[in-house]
């Protein structure tokens, strides 16, 4: 929640800052219509939260700032000898001398301007440091935002037009009135009190990289101011700006660099840096290319003059564009705001191709030569490219239809030239606008330049890091500018990648007609790829109230299909509402939506009002890279975890089967054990019964022993106690005696009997003998009997 709050505050500041910029411009610009425009715009951007409490006394410093400019002009005329800005000598004859000299005198002014302002600031700070601190403690202002504001707010100064120069008195006469008439809210005027105009403006005097002299005075005064700010920031309780969390030195360094506050300058410097990082030979090739392009300027101009198309001739600011063509860097440095305005209004169609190429330093004869060679080679993407070109209405319905072969060649050749990128759906949307404005070989050069220098390559690389980065930056900017909208989308589960992917990959070409894309291209080429974020954010802001009312599915389809209707002219919207079919309608719709049905100028102008600081973009980029790095790490970790998980799963399975085996074994053992236990139990029972038996037996033994021991003393007792057992023993003795006597008798008798027996035996023996004798006689007799019978028988 606290996050949101701080976001809110910075948004306010952001808006205010913008309002202030607009205001400054109005003071300079005398055109009525412009004033009205800006005024409207201003009302748009100034948020409802603008405080009114600062109204009183707020005008005073604003006047001062006007005075500064006045004084500035004075000093400029006095010290006109200083000319530290080299002017390139490659002007065409077309440029007339007056312009050149004018440019020279004008270019001096920023330096002087800077000094005067710098002094002024120092004075101011010496005079009212407390006020500023108090002010800050109340109103939370991020130093970054302020500096951004400063860098732009002082911007108009270096390019004062003839009018202000001629009529400085007018401005001085009643500056208060002019300011009041321009804006009727005090908040933004208050701002100019709060923040002294800072001397940052002089820094874009980066003509060549070699000439990039550090403006020391400015930095010094800036540092003083910054330290003051930092103190005030630290004093206030609720503020938590990046300054407090960042390393101060680092922050100072970043703040001291104008590149961080101006996309246009940032882009130019990157282009120039790239140019100067090349070898001398390559640079020469590019220079020759540029020179060739410059020469066509005259041809184009004369060509148009021949047509006698008065309105066309008048519609083009020939003087300005000739300056752009001659030395773009210088125009950026000296006519920064005019340049932005003119580009916002659209580069004239006739000059567009040339201007684009000069801005990007793309034309190179050697690369064109390479194109012609590579063109002949085969690409693995040929089929896919052909198939997509045939079914891309952006291509088939546009003027480039006749150049479809060139389009195919350029895209195909690029896929050969840069096999790592190859071909990505969406490339056609980038190439078509190029081919609309230049020859195919030039378009190829520019495509290569855009890919390489402008970050398009990352957009189309298989990993699409550029796309993810843009989406992240888009999210963060939206979060800063419209936290409520951002959190609503988050809560609804709608991610920017769901709807904004195609915006960025095609620079809005997927939904917008070519004319709009060309205008977006103007900005992108001047300010870099990241300026598409301006368009994206602007579209979101314009439809914010509507978006906040939508539910998920309506939300997605609205964001994808209808977000652009804000810039449709009313009648078309009605027509569209009656025919709500989304996808089918689209192709027909595309044909019906011509340049006239969109408020094209508003679209571009509104978008350009969205302030993007390269500083913040860089910061977001760093954040994104950190997040991305962590994500990749996480993914790698996930991957390793997944593989180790797989291994562990296998191990688990192995262990499980081993466990099952063990379990079975365990069961067996357990069973055995149970049986053993039963056995033991039985044995124990047996044992017990045996023990009992033993005990019983022991008892019996004991009792028997006892009995026995009882019996013994009994016997002894009977022997000793004669008196009591005399009779018994005498009886017994008598009995024994009797028995013995009897025994003797029996023995006597026995002896007698034995004698009788021996007698009888003897008798028996004699009898036996007698029997023997008798037997013999019997035999004899028998024998005799036999012989007798014989005798008788016969």
């Amino acid at each position: 929640m606290s996050d949101n709050e701080t976001g809110d505050t910075s948004t306010d500041v952001f808006h205010d800052a913008k309002a202030n910029v607009t205001g400054e411009e109005v003071t300079q610009d005398k055109t009525e219509s412009e004033t009205v425009d800006k005024d409207e715009a201003f009302k748009d951007v100034v948020s409802a939260e603008a405080e009114e409490s600062h109204e009183t006394g707020s005008l005073e410093p604003a006047i001062e700032s006007v005075e500064v400019e006045e004084g500035d002009n004075d000093t400029a005329t006095i010290k006109s000898s200083k000319a530290d800005i080299p002017v390139e000598g490659t002007r065409t004859e077309e440029t007339d001398g007056t312009i050149t000299s004018k440019v020279e005198t004008e270019t001096e002014q920023p330096a002087e301007h800077r000094e005067v302002i710098a002094n002024q600031i120092q004075e101011e700070h010496e005079n009212y440091p407390n006020e500023i601190i108090d002010d800050d403690a109340e109103r939370v202002v991020s130093p970054v935002e302020e500096v951004q504001q400063l860098s732009t707010s002082s911007a108009p100064a270096p390019a004062p037009e003839a009018a202000p120069e001629a009529a400085p008195a007018e401005v001085l006469d009643d500056p208060q009135e002019s300011i009041v008439s321009s804006f009727d809210s005090a908040s933004m005027v208050k701002h100019s009190e709060e923040i002294p105009p800072l001397p940052l403006r002089d820094q874009p005097v980066y003509i060549n990289m070699e000439d990039a002299v550090e403006p020391k005075a400015a930095v010094k005064s800036f540092k003083q101011w910054f330290n003051l700010k930092l103190k005030s920031v630290n004093n206030s309780r609720e503020v938590l700006t990046p300054a407090t969390t960042l390393d101060q030195e680092e922050f100072l360094r970043e703040l001291g660099d104008i590149e961080n506050f101006d996309l246009l300058v940032s882009r130019l410097n990157r282009n120039n840096r790239d140019l100067f990082s090349k070898s001398d030979k390559d640079r020469q090739v590019l220079n020759t290319g540029a020179t060739t392009l410059r020469m066509t300027f005259n041809e184009i101009k004369t060509g148009i003059q021949y047509t006698n198309n008065e309105s066309l001739i008048k519609s083009i600011d020939w003087e300005f564009w000739s300056l752009v063509c001659n030395d773009y860097t210088e125009v950026v440095n000296t006519r920064h705001d005019q340049l932005i305005e003119n580009i916002t209004d659209g580069i004239p169609k006739e000059l567009r191709g040339m201007v684009w190429q000069l801005m990007t330093n793309s034309k190179s004869f050697s690369l064109e030569e390479l194109y012609r060679t590579l063109k002949l080679e085969d690409s693995p993407f040929e089929k896919a490219i052909k198939r997509d070109l045939a079914r891309t209405s952006f291509v088939t319905t546009s003027e480039v239809k006749n150049k479809i072969d060139d389009l195919y060649e350029v895209i195909k050749t690029y896929s050969v030239f840069d096999p790592e990128v190859g071909y990505t759906q969406g490339m056609a949307f980038i190439t078509v606008p190029l081919l609309m404005n230049m020859g195919s070989s030039e378009a190829f050069c520019m495509l290569v330049t855009l890919m390489k220098n402008y970050g398009f390559r990352e957009l189309f690389m298989p990993s699409m890091t550029g796309l993810h980065l843009l989406l992240y930056q888009f999210d963060r900017i939206l979060e800063d500018i419209a936290p409520d909208l951002f959190s609503y989308l988050q809560r609804s589960g709608v991610r920017s990648s769901m709807y904004a992917t195609q915006w960025f990959l095609t620079l809005f070409g997927y939904k917008f007609p070519l004319d709009m894309v060309l205008r977006i291209f103007d900005i992108v080429i001047a300010e870099g790829l990241q300026s598409v974020l301006k368009f994206a954010v602007n579209l979101m802001l314009k439809s914010k109230d509507h978006i906040l009312q939508l539910k998920f599915d309506d939300l997605v389809s609205f964001l994808k299909e209808k977000l652009f209707y804000y810039y449709l002219i009313k009648t078309d919207i009605v027509q569209e509402e009656s025919n709500p079919s989304l996808m089918t309608g689209f192709q027909r719709e595309l044909k019906s939506i011509t340049l006239e049905s969109y408020r094209l100028d508003d679209f571009v102008r509104d978008a350009m009002k969205v302030e993007l600081l390269p500083l913040n973009l860089k910061r977001y980029e760093a954040e994104y890279e950190e997040i991305h790095r962590l994500e990749t790490e996480r993914e790698e970790e996930m991957e390793t975890l997944r593989t180790s998980n797989g291994q562990l799963t296998r191990e688990i399975r192995k262990l499980e089967s081993a466990y099952a085996v063990l379990n079975r074994e365990h069961v067996d053992v357990a069973n055995e054990m149970i049986q053993g236990k039963v056995l033991i139990a039985n044995l124990q029972d047996e044992n017990k019964s045996l023990e009992a038996e033993v005990a019983d037996l022991n008892l019996r033994v004991a009792s028997l022993e006892k009995e026995l021991s009882e019996q013994k003393p009994d016997r002894k007792g009977s022997a000793t106690s004669m008196s009591s057992g005399v009779e018994l023993s005498s009886n017994l003795e008598m009995e024994v005696k009797k028995t013995m006597e009897r025994n003797l008798e029996v023995m006597e008798e026995n002896r007698g009997l034995e004698e009788q027996l021996s007698l009888l035996e003897g008798e028996y023996d004699s009898l036996k003998k007698e029997l023997e004798e008798l037997k013999i006689t019997h035999k004899d007799l028998k024998h005799r009997w036999g012989s007798l019978r014989k005798v008788f028988g016969e």
Binding site: R387, A390, H468, S492, M583, R642
Partner: protein
Amino acid sequence: MSASQGRTTTAVKLVLLGEAAVGKSSLVLRFVNNDFEENKEPTIGAAFLTQKCTIGERTIKFEIWDTAGQERFASLAPMYYRNAQAALVVYDITKPASFIKARHWVKELREQATKGIVIALCGNKYDLTVNDEAEEDSGEVSETSKRKVSVNEGQTLAEEEGLMFFETSAKTAYNVNEVFLAIGKKIPEASQNGGANPSRGESQANGRIDLSAPVSSEDSNACAC
């Protein structure tokens, strides 16, 4: 959030995946608008459409994410299939490469998407082979046929992976509604409103082992010593 519909309406998040130019957007266009365009624009990023249809008692509201087919948009795909209850993996029956890609998508879905996601495999551009009479009977790919992926191949993959399988033609509307209806029928009633919010429940139950599950072979007699 998306509970504005009646109780009987089931919101089903469905994602279309498949190689470039197999006819994903055309299938959706046919299903949602009953329309067909030759040379449909290539999808950049993804398209979102909704369509309601009634199956028996239930009203099913399909929230369809039609993704871009080109390989390099694959890095965006997880966002769309995350939390999807249904997926339609499309290939072109005249392009074998698209069938291989379909295989990959099925694999990725099985690994990364919500468990229990209903997947239908869809061999599109059936109209291109209708004139091949021979293949109708034999099921084989004849030499002259434009068909390069046989019905059997598709069916086999579907059986292996437990997918529904259809051959469709967005051009002639053949089987298009049937695919979506079949998906709708397979969506369990319980999973209502699930797909409306991708940010909800980021649970990725992919390939995890439930260590807390009880081991079944527990022995009650374990070691009494």
